[in-house]
Amino acid sequence: MSQNDKDVFARRGFLKGTAAIAGATAVGTLLPAAAAVAQQSKLKIGLMLPYTGTFAQLGVAITNGFKLAVDERGGKLAGREIEFVTVDDESNPAKAPENVNKLVQRDKVDVVIGTVHSGVVMGMAKVLKESGTLWINPNGGAGAMTGAMCAPNFFRTSFSNWQTTHALGKVLKAKGHKTAVFITWKYAAGEEMMEGFKEGFEKEGGKLVKELYTPFPQVEFQALLTEIASIKPDAVVAFFAGGGAAKFLKDYQAAGLKGKIPLYGSGFLTDGVLDAVGDAGEGVETTLHYADGLDTKKDKAFRLAYAKTFKLQPDVYAVQGYDAGQLLAAGLDAVKGNVADKAGVIKGMEAAKIDSPRGVWTLSKAHNPVQDMYLRKVVGKENKSQGVAWKALADPARGCKA
């Protein structure tokens, strides 16, 4: 299809969509009976996730997790059959509005589930704030989604960037570290994690002596590692992910810093890369809302069911997807599947206590999980839980007025 055809298509979809939304509002308010009719139709769930590119595996894990939650309820949510509509967002923020519009206006989904990349999340937020469509974000940690941009129809089942590093302040204090250096990529997620750590560490009387940034997604760390060696802090805290994380762990070891200055980080530093880094990750301690070896009944059952169904080991992303399914189920149960009662669904989700593999969590006022942050330590190829670093940590949701 040429670019031109696509544009015409999008435009037509848009016009139809607006008309339909206007119509739906009118019907919804004037004729409550219409809702009962709609109940017999299938519930339309739009999955907007990356299915190609660097984050493809994360998209698949989230989808699997979500579908597992639906399967556990007999393939239905609140008694209603499900129809999935999927859009590959390619982790491309530039295409985010177009992609989410496909779901909202062309397919008229009842709920949007997505996505991984924080930039795409922000693109979705603009569109979904206007359309008012129910939205559950199973990963992207952009603070603004449940901060300045927060809205009644926005929900997140993962984390805010701030949350993933905030508990480290306590951890470092307990280990007797008084000074620290934070190193990350210079982009929104990195800076938010730095803020989260800085706040937590300074509250404990620690001092963040230097923030080191390298341009995203550059992976040449040598200059900054030299800088760390010359500063000689008590501890280093890092956030990188994927290939960048693997390279950072190896370079940290190769520079001789490992074992001399202890390394900490946001959990993503050591998630999914341990096979690639050999022993360079060993002993690194991180905080995250999930860990290996939690040893709870729920987690064991989840891991077993997931491995059986998909022939894959679940990860934190699968858990977040699974919880998105659980949260939606709770909202729909509250209105007996009548998704047209949006206020009722929102209330149901707000009141939900999610029994997650990571432990029980609830939603904050801004609709971000209030959850336990685990301290994890790399042992072999696992991020072994060392216990809870911060019980029920809530994101401060700065700027959220909804």
Binding site: L212, Y213, Q222, A223, K232, G243, G256, D275
Partner: protein, 288 residues
């Protein structure tokens, strides 16, 4: 920052610069000498890294892996030149952009099918897996120094090949006037095939020996592509000497930029490029 650390940063900058030269040397040949805008350069780099990883895990030895992988990439380069690039020499640059962009997508997809989307690591060869202590808490990995040595050797070899040998003379002549060279009875088609294959092999080789340092990841090629073009443009199109000078300049600028003015570190390279282009639009060592 005391003197010792300034010297270490200098070493970091030079070492990073040499690495950049290694990564961009293949592009210098293909873009600089043959005039092909090769956006797939980064993909060849990625192919090299994945070959090194998969062959090293099969044979258990990076050196063996590289020895097997290089002929493979030469064959790949020759095949691509004969089947695809040959059709484009007489056409507009836009066709080359289209073809090589298409190749990026093809190689990414093939990589996903053959090797999957995981992040992989390649072990540093045991012989070079050591560090030299520099200060009380900092040491320098021997493997990085070894790569620098390889880069210098490679730069020297390229220089000799292009400036001092008969083949090099023919390559240079072909670059400035293809038809004339052909009418003098030189098989220019063969020469172009060879140069292109060399370019592919160099890019892949860079990926191979860099694999233990950088780890092997999807999309790794696109990260190096832009900086490679910057190197060639600053250095002057068609100049190996220029590429070397530009690499070292960028290496030092990035290193000291990150340390001294971290707020604008991401821009420094491009500011440098803009300044060079205003001052010498043809690049440092480019011909007018």
């Amino acid at each position: 920052m005391d003197l010792a650390f300034i010297l270490i940063q200098l070493l970091n900058g030079l070492q990073y610069g040499l690495l950049l030269f290694l990564v961009s040397s293949g592009l210098t040949l293909v873009f600089g000498i043959m005039g092909i805008i090769n956006l797939a350069h980064g993909s060849f780099y990625m192919v090299g890294a994945y070959l090194a990883w998969s062959l090293a895990s099969m044979t258990g030895n990076l050196a063996t892996a590289i020895a097997i992988a290089i002929p493979l990439t030469v064959v790949l380069g020759m095949a691509l030149e004969k089947l695809l690039f040959r059709q484009l020499y007489t056409r507009d640059h836009l066709y080359q952009v289209l073809l090589t962009y298409g190749l990026i997508l093809v190689f990414e997809e093939l990589r996903s099918i053959i090797w999957g989307d995981d992040v992989h690591g390649v072990a540093v060869p045991a012989l070079l897996n050591a560090s030299i202590p520099l200060t009380e808490n900092l040491s320098y990995p021997v493997y990085r120094l070894a790569i620098s040595g390889v880069c210098l050797l490679l730069a020297f070899a390229l220089y000799v090949l292009i400036q001092k040998t008969r083949l090099g003379m023919m390559i240079r002549a072909g670059a400035s006037n293809r038809d004339m060279v052909q009418s003098l009875g030189i098989d220019i088609k063969l020469i172009y095939t060879l140069v292109f294959a060399m370019g592919v092999a160099l890019a892949a080789f860079a990926g191979m020996i860099n694999a233990p340092l950088s780890s092997v990841t999807p999309n790794m090629g696109s990260h190096v592509l832009i900086i490679c073009f910057v190197v060639v443009v600053i250095g002057g199109i068609g100049s190996v000497k220029g590429a070397m000078a530009a690499s070292l300049m960028i290496g030092l600028a990035e290193t000291f930029g990150q340390v001294l003015v971290p707020e604008v570190a991401g821009m420094i390279v491009y500011v440098l490029m803009a300044i060079v282009l205003v001052w010498r639009p043809e690049g440092l060592f480019g011909r007018k």
